[in-house]
């Protein structure tokens, strides 16, 4: 499996610029082409882009939805060759975005709105965090209820230990070799070393499934194929509209991700990209994003999550460690030693 994943990553890198995006949407009929590439599902971001197209009738906006690794490979190739770059890129795989900014692939922009961002959501004035999304445990409400619902990782570990048969093959999480976001969450978990090791052991004991794509994982939870899914983005759970899917913000610690936005150095519509950034940070759009679940309200009163349990993944050069080849190999090795592949039928 790990060989296959690496081959896939390699292929994605080599064929990056050729690999087609997952989906494309067009907004507006203006004269000026404006290209956005993102990992965010079109369905989720659509109202925001539509509103921007409304405000800027001069634009013909193309929104391309990419897988995070492919988007990274494409953006890196664009940066190296200077060919056909997007005007704005935002991705949930923020470590890849940090790498791109560190490789001088972005251009700087400052405005009152960007300056108002906290330091963990802004780096070099070239990378900005536009959303607030917790990594959550999604569970099937019919299969788990009341006291059975694990409120933190220790409870989850205990539950797995107590009822291995119940959970066998019914815990899902991202395949971290496939998904940049999954890898980022796994890496962040690995920094909280003790629970992460125990958790992977527990997952391996019940033959947890590492698979791809938020939508499929959540659909699986909704159908009852999976009892719970570990480390999925809260925004996807909220958008799934599945009544049976519950969401846990683990109380020991909850990773909180902020999608990173950058303006590629060679962007043709850099000024428009800057306007779009300011637009994304307006309270109007933040409210729209909150409806889509991209801006979660993480209040202690609402979620029972204390401030000390909130682990923001900061936009900083220390995320470069996540992309280090040796480190990645070790994590993937550890992962693949533990997991069964969810691809097997």
């Amino acid at each position: 499996m790990i060989r296959f994943a690496r081959l896939l990553a390699f292929l994605a890198f080599i064929a990056g610029p050729l690999a087609a995006q997952e989906d494309t949407a067009r907004f507006g009929t203006g004269q000026t082409e404006f290209l956005i590439r993102s990992t965010t599902d079109i369905a989720i971001i659509r109202p925001v882009i539509a509103r921007f197209a409304e405000l800027r009738p001069d634009l013909a906006i193309t929104y391309e939805q990419w897988g995070s690794n492919a988007l990274f490979a494409r953006s890196r190739a664009d940066c190296r060759d200077g060919t056909d770059p997007a005007d704005a890129v935002f991705s949930s795989a923020v470590h890849q975005m940090v790498w791109l900014v560190n490789a001088a692939c972005a251009q700087a922009y400052r405005s009152a709105a960007t300056q108002a961002l906290p330091p963990s959501r802004r780096w070099r004035d070239e990378l900005w965090g536009i959303s607030t999304e917790p990594a959550v445990i999604a569970y099937n409400k019919t299969l788990l209820s009341g006291a059975e619902v694990p409120r933190d990782r220790f409870a989850l570990l205990d539950a797995i230990r107590e009822r291995p048969a119940f959970f066998r093959n019914r815990i899902a999480t991202y395949d971290i070799a496939e998904s940049g976001l999954g890898y980022l969450f796994a890496y962040s978990d690995s920094l909280e070393a003790t629970t992460f090791g125990a958790l992977l052991e527990g997952f391996s004991r019940v033959d947890a499934v590492a698979t791809c794509c938020s939508a499929e994982i959540i659909a699986g939870v909704a159908e009852g194929r999976y009892v719970l899914a570990y480390n999925v983005l809260g925004s996807y759970v909220l958008n799934s509209d599945a009544a049976q899917v519950g969401m846990i913000l683990p109380e020991d610690y909850t990773l909180i991700l902020s999608r990173a936005y950058m303006i590629p150095r060679a962007a043709r519509q850099a000024a428009t990209a800057a306007r779009f950034l300011d637009f994304l940070l307006t309270s109007e759009v933040q409210a729209l994003l909150a409806q889509s679940g991209l801006v979660a309200k993480i209040d202690a009163t609402e979620t029972g999550l204390s401030a000390s349990a909130q682990r923001f993944i900061p936009l900083s050069p220390s995320l470069l460690v996540a992309r280090d080849a040796n480190r990645r190999d070790q994590l993937l090795q550890f992962w693949s030693d533990t997991f069964q592949s969810g691809y097997l039928p």
């Binding site: 560190n102 900083s316 050069p317 220390s318 470069l320 460690v321």
Partner: protein, 458 residues
Amino acid sequence: MAEPRALATRVLVAVLSILLLGGVLVAASTWWNGQQAARQSYDRILLGAANDIAESIRIQGGAPVVVLPVSAFELLAQAPDDRVYYAVHGPGGVLITGLDPQFWIEPPRPGRAGFFDAALDGEPARFVTVTRRFVEREFSGSVEVVVGQTLRARATMTRELSIDALLPMALAGGALLLIAWAVVRTAMRPLEAITEDLARRDPYDLTAVPTEGLPREMQVMLGAMNRFMGRLDGQVDAMRTLISDTAHQLRTPVAAIRIQAESAMSEDEPALRSRALDRLLSRTRSLGTLLEQLLSRALVVHRGDSAPRVLVDLRDVALEIMEHDDHALISPGTPLKLAIGDRPVMVRADAFSLGEAGRNLLSNALAHGAPPVTIGAERRGTDAILWVRDNGPGPRDAVLARLGERFNRSADSRESGAGIGLSIVKSVATAFGGRMETAQDAEGFRIALVLPAERDAP
């Protein structure tokens, strides 16, 4: 032509230039210091991160493996806005791990630890190389860690350090400038007052400029100016005196000559006519003497102010008068004696003026005194004396009291003897800081010109 700049402006411009030059030098040195400080601090961070990474290298399965420590990057994040670079090379420069497998920075001296500067994606950056040697059963060789960082934080720190250091200095500079301005203004105020005084002064006003409370240098300058004006004033006075004297003195004799000439013309009898002509001649001669004396006095007064003072031996003066045989004309047959000693009698004065004074003393004695007449020079204490003695009783007390005044022509004085003679002596005495002295004793009357003696030449 541009108006010359005021003294205060010049001084202020100079002070400003000095302050500016000093400011530039201080700023440059502060900047340099700040840069050094920033470089050292961030170099240490860089080295710490590189060592951290080097520490994390393990040998696994015969090959070095890096478990990249997050702490190294948290250290590098002390410069929060700087891009970073890292790479770990095995023996032969093989990349073990790094930021980007397709791109790496070549250290300028491979295999040697140390700092170097290079560009990182077109931005200047600082790098450090750390080498770690392994001697294990499975692997032996050195592994090189290169860590680099762009310079934004260093630039910021340099700027902040410099500004922190320069701000108080700039304030101090401003304060110094203000103080300098105040000091210059204060120092220049008397000068300005004088300038104003001079500008408003009537060009004919030759009175002295007041010098109280002025700095010494300016007192010297003003003193010289005041002396000059005083001399000018004296000259003007002398000129005025000369004109009025001449008018006063000449009017009567010239009128007398005219009358005598007329009466001589109207006289038919040869004897009477000849007598009238004789009188006319005598009058004319007397007028000549008078004129000479007037001019002599004017000259003496003028020279007293303007002739350079030289060392003169009063004995020479006496000798010269003696040898000059003018006195024979005035009073032929009167015996004349010279009384001088061996020692020189030196004064610092104008020889011509002294000669004139002596001649007048002598002619006075010849004219009014009784023979024999003696002329002499002597030194008495700090006084140098040129004197003339006759054997007579001297003038009456009333005359004596007014001796040397102008136009003092007594009933006794004949027409040829004008009151001018002794006034010349008095002028000379005044001009050279001396006085006129008279003495009456059993041997006769002595009149003397007393001047301060020059100290003996060694």
